[in-house]
Amino acid sequence: MTDKAWSDAWSLLPAYLTPHIVLSAAALALGLLVSLPLAVAIAGRPRLRWPVLAVAGLIQTIPGLALLALFYPLLLALSAVTLHAFGFAIPALGFLPTLIALTLYAMLPILRNGVAGLNGVDPDVVEAAEGVGMTPRQVLLRVKAPLAAPVVMAGVRTAAVWTIGAATLSTPVGQTSLGNYIFTGLQTENWVSVLFGCIAAAALALVADIFLGLIETGLAQRRHTRMALGVAGLLLGTLAGLTPLLANGTATYTIGAKNFSEQFILAELMGERLKAEGASVAHKDGLGSAVAFRALAHDDIDVYVDYSGTLWSNVMGRGDMLRRDVMQKEIARWMKAEQGVTVLGPLGFENAYVLAMKRDRAATLGVSTLDDLARVAPQLVIGSDIEFLSRPEWTALKDAYGLSFKGQRSFNPTIMYRALETGEVDVISAFSSDGRMASLDLVALGDPKQAAPAYDALILLAPKRANDERLKRALTPLIGAIPVEAMRAANLAVDRDADKASPAQAARDLAATLHLQP
């Protein structure tokens, strides 16, 4: 199994490493381009220096993931402005927000060392430079810059290592990177994948640092061969990273997926069908729930699967409850009218939020419905994924049944199941299509008052794909074709501890079981 996992990880390396290199190199280059002139401008001006360094330092204190996440809504707003003013929208997902965030991240060490380097030049040498008749520009370029260079390079090295590390956080905002190993690995409990991602990112940082180190010592000791070696290494590495990108060109379709196994499997399933139609496909995996829909509505991705209940309450802001078929019709109508988004149709299974307990524990407590649960809830601890407790569904359930727990804890979904097994929590927010419902022998507690909405899986198409016949032809056979048992089995294959399948493998198996081979 492990060998298989390693070889799976290896096969993904070009797809993940390339954008990682491009992203890091671009962010570092941009960081240099902004920071070096800025350092020159503020080095001699203490009144300007303090606020600029303070702001750069403040940016550094924002957690990397939060900084990346912040740029998505910012760019969306900016995109609306440019669309209104100039007639084009800037992409708010993927490369651009990541590039901006990483550039900001790279700035502080370059700025700080730039200022320290420039101000550290011996004042006698500067006086001599002025005395022999250099212009201020010549003093900067011929004397200050070369003397400050080793200190500046030390800052560039720090920035490079930070940038390469922080670039792994770009996955949730839709930018493929080595972080995909880590984020998908964490979701599917594929530790080999997580480890592989960490090692790959560390190795890349190390290699970049070695080459930058050559440049640094080359500058300090004025050894030109060393410097040339470092520069050549960096250039070759970046070019090597760029070649697959140039060869591939751009993909025809971009398929989105939120951050859990079922979404990865369905994205692979749709991708295989599109490839069979002769289209090229790119994946944006691990998107945040709200990010995914906005990305689709803004044509940043072309297609993804979402769930009726999520769309109903989170996107449409509806609090009322309708019958399943009426609700689906209303969603389709609203999506078209308000967002231009096409609901291609339901896949046939539901992935609803249910409250679940271990079967024996439920039996001991005499709990089979949420009414029963409400009675014993004050003695129990509920565990949930990070979203659930802030979702309107939870409020609806809580109010309808008067649920009040002794404690509540949030987890990464995979770890949440483990917490239920070890007895850390008694009840969890589970998903009805989750493979672990069967494998861990869990019971979903009944909802007699029908307080929770339906969560039918729906294929959504981006506005610009509304009339894309090839896309529709490829995906329509999936409509109504996936029963919940088949989805559970596919999910289990990816989520289980032993003999794990990759999402791609699970998607192929699912297609085979359902005779959906393209």
């Binding site: 008749g133 250099m134 010549q138 004397v143």
Partner: protein
């Protein structure tokens, strides 16, 4: 005062304050320096001698008054342009550590756009002139001794054949032997190249031995101005008299010492 018909350097009513006008580093100073003379600016620290010197090549901009060279106001020229025509040597030397000795010496000619062969020839000539082996052109400044570095500093200052040299405690950080050596070597250069030199020093003895004329400053003003002989013979200001008495007293003591040393016991 040794008058020349048209002074090469003319300082007119120059004032400079570093604290917005409460105190003056240089207060209403006027001075005329004849071509070919070596003038020493003497005074204790804070007397304003360095400020006055740096106003000549505009490393410091005065608040009031003007400096004229050959009758032309230096404020009318671009400062870098002005400085390329004036040699400048100071105690810190300030050799460029990332450039070889040859590049250091050739910097002003390079800024002036001389062709490379001409610069190389000039560097070799200057190394001979300041008594350094020619192969030192390939060395970096950190490989030289303090005295050698100051020789390079002098060579760099005179590389573009300036008519004027400004020197700020040029030999202050050197040991006495090197100092004396370099001092007399410079005086020879000054004469053979026909330069005009303004030299700041706090060492009266050095001033007396090297200069044609000594200008004594105190509190931003000139308190005495004359040949070394004249100032030693008779100075109106008691502080100046005390100052000028130092080298005389030292010379007398040394003379007595020498006399006793020569007498067999």
């Amino acid at each position: 005062m040794p008058d020349a018909p048209c002074p090469l350097i003319e300082v007119k009513s120059l004032s400079k304050s570093f604290d917005g006008g409460r105190g003056f580093a240089v207060a209403d100073v006027s001075l005329a320096i004849a071509a070919g003379s070596l003038v020493a600016l003497v005074g204790s620290s804070g007397s304003g001698k360095t400020t006055l010197l740096k106003c000549v090549n505009r490393l410091i901009e005065p608040d009031k008054g003007e400096v004229r060279i050959d009758g032309v106001d230096v404020n009318g020229m671009a400062a870098p342009e002005l400085r390329r025509g004036i040699g400048y040597v100071f105690q810190g030397v300030g050799l460029f550590p990332h450039m070889r000795v040859g590049e250091n010496i050739g910097i002003t000619p390079k800024l002036l756009g001389w062709p490379a062969e001409k610069i190389d020839a000039r560097v070799a000539e200057l190394l001979d002139l300041v008594d350094l082996p020619r192969d030192h052109a390939r060395r970096f400044p950190h490989m030289l001794s303090g005295g050698q570095r100051q020789r390079v500093g002098v060579a760099r200052a005179i590389a573009a054949r300036p008519r004027i040299m400004l020197m700020d405690e040029p030999f202050g950080a050197l040991d006495p032997v090197t100092r004396d050596d370099l001092g007399s070597a410079y005086r020879k250069l000054h004469d053979s190249l026909g330069m005009t030199t303004l030299m700041v020093t706090h060492d009266v003895q050095e001033a007396a031995l090297l200069a044609d004329r000594i200008v004594v400053m105190k509190g931003g003003r000139i308190v005495a101005d004359g040949t070394p002989q004249a100032l030693m013979a008779n100075a109106a200001d008691p502080d100046v008299a005390a100052l000028m008495a130092v080298p005389k007293r030292q010379a007398e003591r040394i003379g007595r010492l020498m006399a006793t040393a020569e007498q067999p016991s």
